[in-house]
């Protein structure tokens, strides 16, 4: 509301300033005759020439020629000046018309255009003030913004980059996550975990493709920690994508054998194995499980599902090897739960876990 009062005051002040000469010139005793200004101009010019010449600022010859010239024009201007008092009827009408024009034009044009281009509802948001807001009030995106601002000031804070990277991943900013891991790697030195995390981010950023850069990070990690399951998984995936299906199958199988029975990533490995065996797309799955999943999907499609159910649906599809459907479910879940940052973060983790990427 205050902003509209401010606008009204500004408009009023400007309109007053514009109309000021009307009031002033009319109030002058007798007014000034039209053409007076010209006469005054030449008269004062002649006076000034005399003054300057007297002070020796311009030469006598120049002064003389300037004076005659001004005098000639003075005579011409006097001859041209029409007579007629200023307060005449047409003059008053003109002034009324001019002031009506100005008074209507200024608010109409300015409010109309401002209505079209302005954003009166947005407050100013200086950075300083935004950075001192209580942290618990922050949304995830704002929190990330603050960490980013901190890192912009201290680009050599490796720990900061390492903390930020998984958050990026959860937010779906895989490319940023990869470069943040890259910064952490160069500042804190390579460990197998960091290398694999970076590789994972790169794979996600590349829509599931294990790039040469990711492959290099994985190989380096495996050279240091040959048993690392995550690294082995991605290497197997890389082999699969390179067309080495046999090698990939062997690697996945070895990974599955070495896994503990309750390893959370085991279903993923199984799904890959199933896909490689050509038995994927649910044909091996128990029809009962399938029916359960479909009914869950139908229920959620009707609306009102909570984060837990959505996560279960995504997970189920992924385990069944129906990656298309899983990605689809993930996308709808993100739409449904857009208002719940915790749920979004959870979905993000899920997406990472199954290397699901959404097509946008």
């Amino acid at each position: 509301m205050t902003i509209w009062i401010v606008f009204a005051l500004m408009t009023g002040a400007v309109a007053l300033a514009v109309l000021w000469p009307l009031a002033r010139v009319r109030a002058a005793p007798g007014g000034s005759a039209p053409g007076d200004e010209d006469l005054g101009f030449y008269r004062s010019q002649i006076d000034d020439i005399a003054r300057e010449a007297a002070r020796g600022l311009i030469g006598p010859a120049e002064a003389e020629s300037a004076r005659t010239e001004a005098a000639r024009r003075l005579i011409r201007a006097r001859a041209a000046a029409p007579a007629g008092p200023d307060g005449s009827e047409p003059a008053l009408r003109r002034r009324r018309a001019a002031s009506a024009f100005a008074i209507s034009m200024i608010p109409l044009v300015s409010l109309g255009l401002y209505g079209a281009f302005g954003s009166p509802h947005l407050p100013a948001q200086p950075l300083e003030a935004r950075l001192t807001v209580d942290p618990t009030q922050l949304s995830l995106a704002d929190a990330v913004g603050r960490i980013e601002a901190h890192l912009a000031r201290n680009p050599d804070d490796g720990r900061g980059w390492e903390l930020l990277a998984p958050v990026y991943l959860r937010l779906g900013r895989a490319q940023d996550a990869a470069s943040a891991y890259g910064r952490a790697l160069s500042l804190l030195g390579p460990t197998p975990e960091r290398l694999v995390d970076q590789a994972e981010a790169l794979v996600l950023a590349g829509d599931g493709v294990v790039s040469a850069e990711a492959r290099k990070a994985i190989d380096t990690a495996l050279a240091q920690a040959p048993d690392m399951a995550k690294a082995r998984y991605y290497r197997a995936l890389a082999m699969e994508q390179d067309g080495d299906r046999e090698g990939a199958r062997a690697a996945f199988a070895a990974l599955a054998r070495s896994a503990a029975a309750d390893a959370p990533w085991l279903p993923m490995v199984r799904a890959r194995l199933a896909a490689l065996d050509g038995t994927a797309t649910g044909s091996t799955a128990d029809p009962a499980i399938r029916a359960m999943v479909e009914s869950l999907a139908a229920r959620l499609a009707a609306g009102g599902g909570d984060a837990e159910s959505w996560a279960r649906l995504v997970r189920s599809y992924a385990v069944l090897g129906e990656r298309e459907k899983a990605a689809e479910a993930l996308a709808s879940a993100r739409r449904e739960l857009a208002a719940d940052p915790a749920a979004l973060a959870r979905l993000g983790t899920l997406a990472t876990e199954f290397a699901l990427t959404e097509r946008r």
Partner: protein, 658 residues
């Protein structure tokens, strides 16, 4: 709130300018003093509004308010304070706001010079300026609004283009804009004269200081821009005949012609129609320049953000103002009364030749700049017109211009004495010949034409000295009398001489460029390379990390041929982190008026690529332009133009109270 108030103020300024376009012109037709005064009030009010809005935007930059898109796109919270501020006009939207601000500043100044301008001329000129302001305010609001907001606001901006993070940016665009927009005053006066149907010496006297100011600012702006490109781009060149540079050169050439023809008008009331035409042309060319730069129709090495929509809008403005101006000219110019007579060999005649050559130069630059555009439209082929074209044509036109300059200055008004002028110039000519011979004798290498260039530069510079000394000293005049006579010469005479001297100095600097050297080598620490008469040793390469960039600095030691040290210089290769953008920072060591210029390239097998230049007397180029601008400013303060200017004590009490 401040930011929205700033936005509103801009809209308010537009509304006020609409009133300013209509009311004073109407008042002038009806001879109504009150309505004419309303024009002045409007100009002051719109200036206040635009200034407020500029302050609001600058404030948003200073506090890094990232809810404004313009700030997000061009600023960064970690940027040094000075670049936060210069970032305001380091981008399209902000620079157009600055353009409008300068426009309203000039309109406000016209509004305030109540006593030095005839009322109707002032009212009509304010009306024309109001119309220009309306067009550009609409352009800013509709196509390039600096106040558009983002919600939710990001926490960090994208930083200003690193090339623009330089003190050069703080001064170069504002100077250039003051020049461009200053020409709008000459345009407004020309149109006002046409509307009124009256043009005389009073008009010329009123226009001359404004034109001088615009010209001097334009000169400074172009020369600063050229020095900035010289040290920032790392190519060692100072003028590339790039469309953007041509866009600023064309109005300058037209303004220079205008400056000289206004002198003829003021003294002799001749060349009226031509002067009016030049005033329209000069501003039209600065509009064309704005169009070329902002629309992206020409590919340029410094193509800043370009946008066809904006181009179309500016093209519209261009058509309205150039078309309108020329139509009014065609309609009213025949009514103007003929001026005084003069013989072909006279000061007027010399100034006519000057005008002819300057407009021809302007025309050839225009052809060279637009030819690619026309050819592409006609046959679809993409071409570029390179520096050889411009060097040849502009060089060929500049040659007679420079040779005739000192002669013109020696000719009398109405009817001159060519032989007498030549006799008075004997000394200058003899000294110039000595300079040529000395250059031949002492300088090694370089093309044959270069010593002749030195001779021409010397002739022009000494001719300018003769301009003053000839008027003060005479046979048998005692030194004291001569000195006081020289000091008593009008400021415009001194200003003219200074500007012409500057031309000579710049020509000397350009001629000396022929003895420059350029070496391309791969160096590793400890390696040596010769640059002109010096030897540069790469001592070490050190990495450095600062607020928003990292750099590798190559430290070079310079030694003279005899082994003594000539100092060190640092050249660096920077990486700006936010935009992940590399820049080259040339290392420059100034020795006297010459410079040694080193820029670093990429890491190579076996070292780092280094380009070394020796630039003898290169500073003369810019020193000359400083002389020109200073001459312009000095002439502007001449008493004769201020005859009739407000004198404090003379202000009547009535006005003082109001």
């Amino acid at each position: 709130m401040l930011i929205e108030a700033g936005h509103y103020a801009l809209v308010l300024a537009l509304a006020v300018c609409i009133v300013q376009t209509i009311v004073p012109v109407w008042g002038a037709r009806r001879d109504d003093a009150a309505l004419m005064e309303m024009g002045a009030a409007c100009a002051l009010a719109s200036f206040a509004c635009v200034a407020f809005s500029f302050v609001a935007l600058s404030h948003a930059y200073l506090v890094s308010d990232f809810s404004i898109r313009n700030v997000v796109e061009n600023s960064h919270s970690q940027k040094p304070l000075i670049y936060k501020l210069t970032g305001v006009w380091g981008n399209h939207e902000g620079s157009m706001l600055l353009w409008v601000l300068v426009l309203t500043v000039f309109a406000a100044l016209v509004a305030l010079s109540r006593r030095s301008l005839p009322a109707r001329l002032r009212a009509n000129a304010l009306g024309v300026q109001g119309a220009i302001a309306v067009a550009f305010l609409l352009f800013v609001l509709v196509t390039s609004n600096p106040f558009s907001r983002l919600s939710p606001a990001p926490f960090e901006g994208r930083d200003l283009n690193p090339i623009l993070q330089d003190p050069g940016l703080a001064i170069h665009p504002p100077l250039l804009y003051i020049g461009y927009v200053g020409l709008s005053i000459a345009f407004a006066f020309a149109l006002a004269a046409l509307i009124e149907g009256r043009i005389d010496a009073v008009w010329a006297r009123a226009v001359r200081p404004w034109t001088l100011a615009a010209w001097a600012f334009l000169t400074l702006g172009i020369s600063m821009g050229s020095y900035w490109a010289y040290y920032e781009l790392g190519w060692g060149g100072f003028w590339f005949w790039d469309p953007v540079e041509n866009a600023s050169l064309m109005p300058w050439l037209a303004a220079t012609a205008l400056l000289h023809s206004v002198v003829v008008m003021e003294r002799r009331e001749a060349l009226k129609v031509w002067t009016i035409f030049l005033a329209i042309l000069a501003f039209s060319l600065s509009l064309v320049g704005t169009f070329l730069v902002r629309s992206g129709v020409l590919t340029s090495v410094h193509a800043f953000a370009t946008d066809p929509g904006r181009g179309a809008f500016i093209l519209g403005i261009l058509t309205v103002f150039i078309g309108g101006g020329l139509a009014l000219f065609a309609w009213r110019a025949p009514l103007l009364r003929q001026g005084g007579l003069f013989a072909p060999i006279s000061r007027e005649g010399a100034l006519v030749v000057n005008n002819l050559l300057f407009s021809t130069a302007c025309g050839t630059v225009l052809i060279g700049t637009l030819y690619p555009l026309a050819l592409e439209a006609a046959i679809g082929a993409k071409i570029s017109v390179g520096p050889p074209f411009f060097n040849l044509t502009v060089g060929a036109i500049a040659l007679p211009l420079l040779l005739l300059l000192p002669f013109g200055q020696q000719l009398a008004w109405k009817r001159g004495d060519a032989l007498g002028a030549a006799q008075r110039l004997m000394a200058a000519f003899a000294l110039a010949i000595v300079a040529v011979l000395a250059t031949f004798a002492f300088a090694r290498g370089g093309p044959v034409l270069a010593p002749i260039g030195v001779g021409i530069g010397a002739f022009v510079a000494i001719g300018a000295v003769v301009e003053i000394s000839g008027r003060a000293f005479g046979r048998g005049v005692p030194l004291r009398v001569a000195l006081s006579r020289a000091l008593g010469l009008p400021r415009s005479a001194w200003g003219t001489a200074a500007a012409h001297f500057g031309v000579g100095v710049t020509v000397l600097g350009l001629a000396a460029a022929a003895w420059g050297t350029e070496t391309l080598v791969v160096m590793k620490p400890g390696d040596r390379a010769s640059v002109g008469p010096y030897v540069a040793t790469l001592e070490r390469v050190v990495p450095r990390s600062l607020a928003n960039y990292r750099e590798d600095v190559g430290v070079f030691a310079l030694t003279r041929a005899d082994g003594t040290s000539a100092g060190t210089l640092d050249a660096s290769k920077r990486l700006y982190l936010t935009r992940n953008m590399p820049t080259t920072e040339a290392g420059i060591r100034t020795v006297g008026l010459s410079q040694i210029y080193v820029s670093l390239g990429e890491a190579e097998p076996g070292g780092i690529g280094v380009r070394l230049y020796y630039k003898p007397f290169v500073l003369l180029i810019w020193i000359g332009s400083l002389f020109m601008a200073a001459g312009g400013f000095w002439a502007m303060t001449d008493r004769r133009f201020r005859v009739g200017a407000p004198v404090r004590a003379a202000v009547p009490q009535r006005e003082a109270r109001a």
